[in-house]
């Protein structure tokens, strides 16, 4: 029963981690950028929701209507002013740039919010649905549904729209995409916007389920990275599967053995998987350079 409960929790929380990872993997796939700032951006999203909820006294989910566009704008701004000008060694330079952005955000949040722990509140946060002997924490259920909904939207956008076509083209072959008239700059800008907009949503859920301060980002980033790697770069579905897989493993090991070995087990599985499939579970095998 306990294991079953752990599996359910793993799936629910996994959905929420997948949401946070989706932006990361998308940005990876389209732009070759390791968005190291994702942790800090999620915390920023959490703080924004916290402030909006406190000042306007509205539901955290409603606050997304304000924070998501804001963060999307921020993402586009970051692209235009920081990422686009990078000419050489993009992979590493953009990683370092995003790290600098993360530092900057952490510093600003530290000063604005004074590093005490805060948490976003709503009347139903502590509720849970009880079915038989199993518990479904309401907030996780809601965030899971939201995640699935958003990931679905993302899927539709990628596979059913014109923008999605350009996006996939830029992912597979940026040079060719440019040749056929796709404005890859615009695609990249929008992608980073979406990626960071998703961080706003992830941040809201993070903020309702965890007490956080400006330095909370460190615990998030490593997990998101391994989720994205395991799922395969650029694969949103892969991120969902691997996030759920990771959380389930972690939770089950924590319950039947010990929480300290939960994440270790997961990391070891990751290494084993990568030894067999370096491109991750759902990543496309890189086209062999001729």
């Amino acid at each position: 029963m306990l294991v079953l409960q752990a599996i359910i929790e793993g799936v629910l929380v996994g959905g929420f981690y997948a949401l946070m990872a989706a932006g990361l993997t998308l940005v990876f796939g389209v732009m070759d950028i390791v968005n190291f700032a994702i942790g800090a951006l999620i915390v920023l999203g959490a703080y924004l929701s916290y402030s909006v909820c406190n000042h306007l006294h509205i539901d955290p989910f409603l606050s997304l209507l304000i924070t998501t566009p804001l963060m999307t704008g921020l993402g586009m701004f970051i692209y235009v002013f920081l990422i686009k000008p990078i000419k050489t060694n993009r992979v590493v330079m953009s990683l370092l740039t995003m790290f600098a952005v993360a530092t900057l955000i952490e510093g600003i949040l530290d000063i604005c919010y004074n590093s005490g722990f805060v948490q976003i509140h709503a009347s139903y946060i502590n509720n849970s649905l009880k079915i038989g002997k199993l518990n479904f924490p309401l907030i996780y259920v809601l965030s899971f549904l939201l995640s699935v909904f958003l990931l679905g939207c993302l899927f539709l956008i990628t596979y059913r729209t014109k923008f999605g076509r350009s996006l996939r083209a830029s992912m597979q072959n940026p040079v060719a995409a440019r040749l056929v008239g796709i404005d890859t700059d615009r695609v990249s800008m929008i992608t980073l916007g979406i990626g960071i907009g998703l961080a706003a949503i992830g941040g809201m859920v993070f903020g309702t389920t965890n007490a956080f301060n400006a330095s909370s980002s460190y615990d998030i980033i490593s997990r998101l990275l391994v989720i994205v790697i395991l799922g395969g770069f650029g694969s949103v579905g892969g991120a969902l599967v691997s996030a759920i897989f990771m959380l389930v493993i972690q939770d089950v090991v924590a319950v039947v053995w010990s929480p300290v070995w939960g994440s270790t087990t997961f990391y070891m599985i990751l290494i084993l998987v990568l030894l067999v499939r370096p491109q991750g579970l759902f990543g496309k095998k890189g086209v062999r350079a001729q």
Binding site: T97, I111, I229, V260, L274
Partner: protein, 356 residues
């Protein structure tokens, strides 16, 4: 192969490199500056910063031998830094080494252990490339951190371990660490230099530019990468050892710290990734500046903001790093000179003829 072209036909291309006089001159001046530095600035605060700068100097130089030369950006070298620290802490108590000069014996031991650890790790992670490699190294570092937490009978878990402190007087306490650090750092730089000018080093650079092509040209890329990986791990082990001795306590959280690797890569980038002295310069400037900045501007949390902003500016202005920027400057200087000479030749045949 036979060609009938004689050497006389061969026009000597101009050298775009900064002349040896300047390069070696700067090197010698730099060396003496580092040697006399703690004697001139004998305040222990400054020499403490000096010790940390030396630790970073050897670490970055080691890191650059692998990541800079091969272009594989490793963000998990804290693994070897941590192994050096834990080796030092565990062995100093296991062998009952009295805190003092003898503790320095652990430096070569830590280097060897880090090198040995690098062999299986290298085998595992060098199979993948690009992003996967970067993230795999990070993941590996977290695994080691978790092991340090979980194998508590050896590592002390979250309680950490201690390294005994010698009872030296505060006024000279830092000096042995500084000079031993400088010595190891110089060995690292010399190693880096020897590698850069060796055939082996050239093969590493070839891997950086196009690994598959390098393989097709008869380079055993797997072996080359692994050897570079081991050499770089060795210097990280030394850095960890000196760090553990100097700070005196070892914790999983600080020994296997993701920020450490980011710092290394920032230093290497600021100085010039893949150059011999760029990363060293980056290490000296950034590690010292960072610490000095914190102690001068005190308990301010604006630190993060200024640090982040400064970093963005550096990345924007000097994307290649300081050292490549200097050689680029020199290069364009040479090119301009060439151009002027050429202009003069084209414009002045009449005068030339008159002189004949």
């Amino acid at each position: 192969m036979s060609t009938d072209i004689t050497t006389s036909q061969r026009p000597t291309p101009p050298s775009y490199e900064v002349p040896k006089v300047y390069r070696y001159g700067a090197l010698i001046v730099g060396f003496f500056a580092l040697v006399i530095f703690p004697l001139v600035f004998n305040n222990p605060t400054i020499s403490t910063i000096g010790v940390f700068a030396m630790i970073f100097l050897m670490a970055v130089t080691g890191w650059n031998i692998f990541s800079g030369y091969t272009g594989y950006i490793a963000l998990g070298h804290a693994v070897f830094f941590g192994i050096g620290q834990y080796a030092t802490a565990m062995l100093s108590s296991y062998w009952h080494i009295n805190p003092g000069m003898w503790t320095f014996v652990l430096i070569p031991v830590s280097m060897i252990l880090a090198g040995i650890a690098a062999i299986p790790i290298g085998f595992m992670i060098l199979r993948v490339r690009k992003h996967t490699f970067i993230v795999l190294t990070i993941a590996l570092m977290f695994i080691f951190q978790l092991f340090a937490y979980n194998l508590r009978s050896w590592t002390g878990g979250s309680q950490g371990l201690e390294v005994g402190q010698p009872g030296w007087d505060g006024s000279v306490f830092n000096l042995p660490y500084y000079y031993v650090g400088l010595f190891v750092a110089i060995i690292a730089i010399i190693t880096s230099f020897m590698i850069r000018r060796s055939k082996f080093g050239l093969s590493l650079l070839a891997i950086r530019d196009d690994e598959d092509r390098a393989r097709s040209l008869g380079i055993n890329t797997t072996r080359s990468k692994l050897i570079a990986f081991i050499i770089s791990a060795v210097f990280l082990g030394a850095a960890g050892c000196i760090y553990a001795m100097f700070v005196g306590s070892v914790y999983p959280q600080f020994s296997f710290d993701p920020a450490f690797d980011l710092e290394l890569s920032i230093m290497a980038f600021a100085g010039g990734l893949g150059t011999i002295l760029g990363p060293s310069l980056g290490a000296l400037i950034i590690s010292a500046a960072q610490q000095y900045f914190l102690i001068s501007f005190g308990g301010a949390n604006v630190f993060l903001i200024v640090y982040g902003a400064l970093f963005i500016v550096i990345l924007r202005l000097l994307p290649g790093g300081v050292v490549p920027a200097i050689s680029d400057k020199w290069r364009s200087h040479v090119v301009r000179k060439e151009q002027r000479k050429l202009d003069a030749e084209i414009q002045g045949p009449a005068e030339g003829g008159a002189k004949k």
